[in-house]
């Protein structure tokens, strides 16, 4: 009877002790892991709260529909908002076709040789080039060599360079995921290569490519540095010409040459001023900018989730 079987009264054997200790440290690490995620999460929450506490009172219709103004209380983001949209339009309409074309070529057409390896290394390296370097490239090439000035076109093309590697990588991954049986089926029906690529691969990969494009554009809309180097203005009190005109030929491209400002530049300008009133404006602009990028990101995440769920080859 005295040799009790209950584990609490007997001292643990060295092995049992080791198991208990190691299990404890293992559980402890799980806690550390949760804490690490919490740190990241808390930062995100603190960031959003800080923006809202400082900027929310400022966020009204007047702020969204006013031009920049030396008087902080009157200033708004209209020009920046319109500028961001127009710049994104240029970026999307240049980077998306070129990026998809490049992705298709690299996956379906290229012969595996030294040249393909070169392009491969190139794309991965381009994705890692700091964004400000693209700004320097644009300053030297678009602004001074092609003489495009500080225009919406220059800004759009600059950001297109930035988005290009993202679109290429997304296209390639989407195309690579399509099983080769689908390609063979198309060929068996007598399709030519381009018919196979454009009538089959591209539609199947469309959702995944779109996800990548949206993520790329959401990154571009928040980019500040490359646009600072080409000399984006921060004080613009007019809107560029409307692309749709009332008279013949109804479509005008004059807006491409217009000087511009965009949301992140406007916010940067307000942050760097010492007056607290302008920092309120910066916070409000930050809310608008963050909502735009988060909206785009969540559309992309949702799309990817839907595609992964429904995808059955």
């Amino acid at each position: 009877m005295t040799t009790s079987l209950s584990p609490s009264s007997t001292p643990l054997s060295p092995i049992q002790l080791s198991v208990v200790q190691r299990k404890r440290s293992s559980n402890l690490f799980a806690v550390v892991g949760i804490v690490s995620i919490a740190i990241a999460l808390m930062t995100l929450i603190a960031l959003v709260l800080q923006l809202f506490i400082q900027g929310f009172p400022k966020l009204n219709w007047q702020f969204l529909t006013s031009f920049a103004d030396p008087e902080a209380s009157l200033a708004g983001v209209l020009a920046a908002l319109v500028g961001s949209c127009l710049v994104m339009l240029v970026t999307a309409s240049t980077a998306v076709p070129v990026g998809i074309g490049a992705g298709l070529y690299l996956e379906e057409y290229i012969a595996r040789n030294k040249f393909s390896a070169l392009i491969e290394i190139n794309v991965t390296n381009l994705a890692g080039v700091p964004s400000i370097v693209y700004g320097l490239l644009a300053l030297g090439l678009f602004k001074y060599y092609f003489n495009l000035g500080e225009s919406i076109l220059t800004a759009g093309l600059t950001l297109a360079l930035l988005v290009l590697p993202v679109v290429i990588v997304a296209t390639r991954e989407a195309i690579r995921a399509i099983p080769s049986s689908l390609r063979e089926a198309a060929y068996a029906m007598g399709a030519s290569k381009s018919q196979m690529v454009f009538d089959h691969l591209l539609p199947y990969a469309f959702g995944n490519i779109l996800t990548g494009v949206i993520i790329g554009l959401s990154r571009a809309i928040g980019e500040t540095a490359p646009l600072v180097t080409i000399g984006a203005l921060t004080f613009i009190a007019f809107l560029p010409d409307s692309p749709i005109q009332s008279g013949f030929p109804f479509i005008s491209f004059e807006w491409l040459k217009a000087p511009f400002t965009v949301l992140p530049i406007q916010m940067f300008n307000w942050v760097s001023r010492p007056e607290p009133e302008f920092q309120v404006n910066a916070a409000a602009a930050g809310i608008v900018l963050l909502s735009l990028t988060l909206m785009m990101n969540s559309i992309a995440i949702y799309l990817r989730y839907r595609i992964q769920k429904n995808l059955k080859w």
């Binding site: 892991g33 290394i121 980019e223 916010m267 942050v271």
Partner: protein, 309 residues
């Protein structure tokens, strides 16, 4: 007769097929041009940065540029030593990595070895949101939230300092490191884990002694790409770390980085081909060379681990 007409048909394809072949050729060349545009961009970066900065080295010797300890190109007397800017970049990047590597690695180990599928599905998109926040917003956060918060503890912390900028930059890089490292850890085959569990190891021992070493080249590649990201980061440091070029490794100092200098000069209206204009291209050239080296090492490491299993 029928046979000969058939062979004629083979020898001389009808017009329709010729057009079809030409169309194929045309499409292929258009796609080739798209792919070639990447190489064109790389060449353009090198050529533009090279030619625009070459003028600087006519007035400043390369030796002075790389070893001078004072950077004041826009003042009289002008000084062209890049070391202070390199020093600012090194310090902020070091702080950022000091935050990002431990947190990123821990999250990666947790998600790949401890967390359930359900947790993973929720945590990963949240981390992606963190990576998607515009850097100018992070800059605002560092200047107006993190710095005042740090000033509660560190009383003599100046309004612009490398500490706040580095810390926020670290949090920004966490998702990149955690996601790349997790991918590497999850590609470690389960046999290794099962062997470890069979030998009586706990989850932590398996994660730390088996999975982490097996995935190390992938993990280290994520670190190196993180370094390259920190070195190239611009807005956070130009908003929150200050614009004064000086040699200081003290995180509580304010100092300019290479990227912040480029922004500072661009904000003023510099005439084309002036000395100030040339300096930003020279700094940019150094920046792109540094990131290129790190990226190449990073991708090389990544390819190596892919071949292992």
């Amino acid at each position: 007769m029928a046979i000969s007409s058939l062979s004629e048909a083979i020898a001389a394809p009808p017009r329709k097929q010729v057009i079809r072949r030409l169309k194929e050729r045309f499409i292929e060349s258009v796609l080739f041009l798209c792919a070639f545009s990447c190489i064109a961009v790389t060449i353009a970066i090198m050529v533009i940065l090279g030619t625009e900065s070459i003028g600087l080295f006519k007035t400043v010797s390369v030796w002075e540029f790389f070893t001078g300890t004072e950077w004041a190109p826009l003042f009289e007397p002008a000084k062209y030593g890049i070391l202070p800017l390199v020093c600012g970049t090194l310090t902020t990047s070091a702080i950022a990595l000091f935050v990002a590597i431990p947190i990123g690695t821990t999250i990666a180990l947790f998600l790949s070895e401890f967390a359930s599928q359900k947790v993973r599905v929720w945590v990963k998109p949240i981390l992606e949101i963190l990576a998607g926040v515009p850097t100018v917003v992070y800059g605002y956060f560092a200047l107006l939230f993190v710095t005042p918060l740090l000033q509660i503890v560190l009383l003599d912390l100046p309004g612009f300092n490398m500490l706040a900028a580095g810390l926020v930059m670290g949090i920004m890089i966490v998702p990149q490191i955690s996601s790349m490292s997790e991918d590497a850890m999850r590609s470690v085959p389960d046999e290794l884990r099962e062997g470890s569990y069979a030998a009586g190891a706990t989850k932590l021992q398996t994660a730390w002694n088996v999975v982490f070493p097996a995935a190390f080249s992938g993990v280290s590649s994520s670190y190196i790409l993180g370094i390259s990201r920190a070195v190239g980061e611009t807005m956070i440091v130009s908003i929150a770390a200050g614009l004064q070029a000086k040699i200081s490794f003290n995180p509580m100092d304010s100092a300019a980085t290479m990227t912040a200098y480029i922004v500072q000069v661009s904000l003023g209206d510099l005439p084309h081909a002036s000395i100030g204009y040339q300096t930003i291209f020279a700094v940019g050239f150094l920046l792109v060379s540094i990131t290129l080296i790190f990226n190449t090492i990073g991708h090389w490491l990544k390819r190596r681990y892919r071949e292992q299993y």
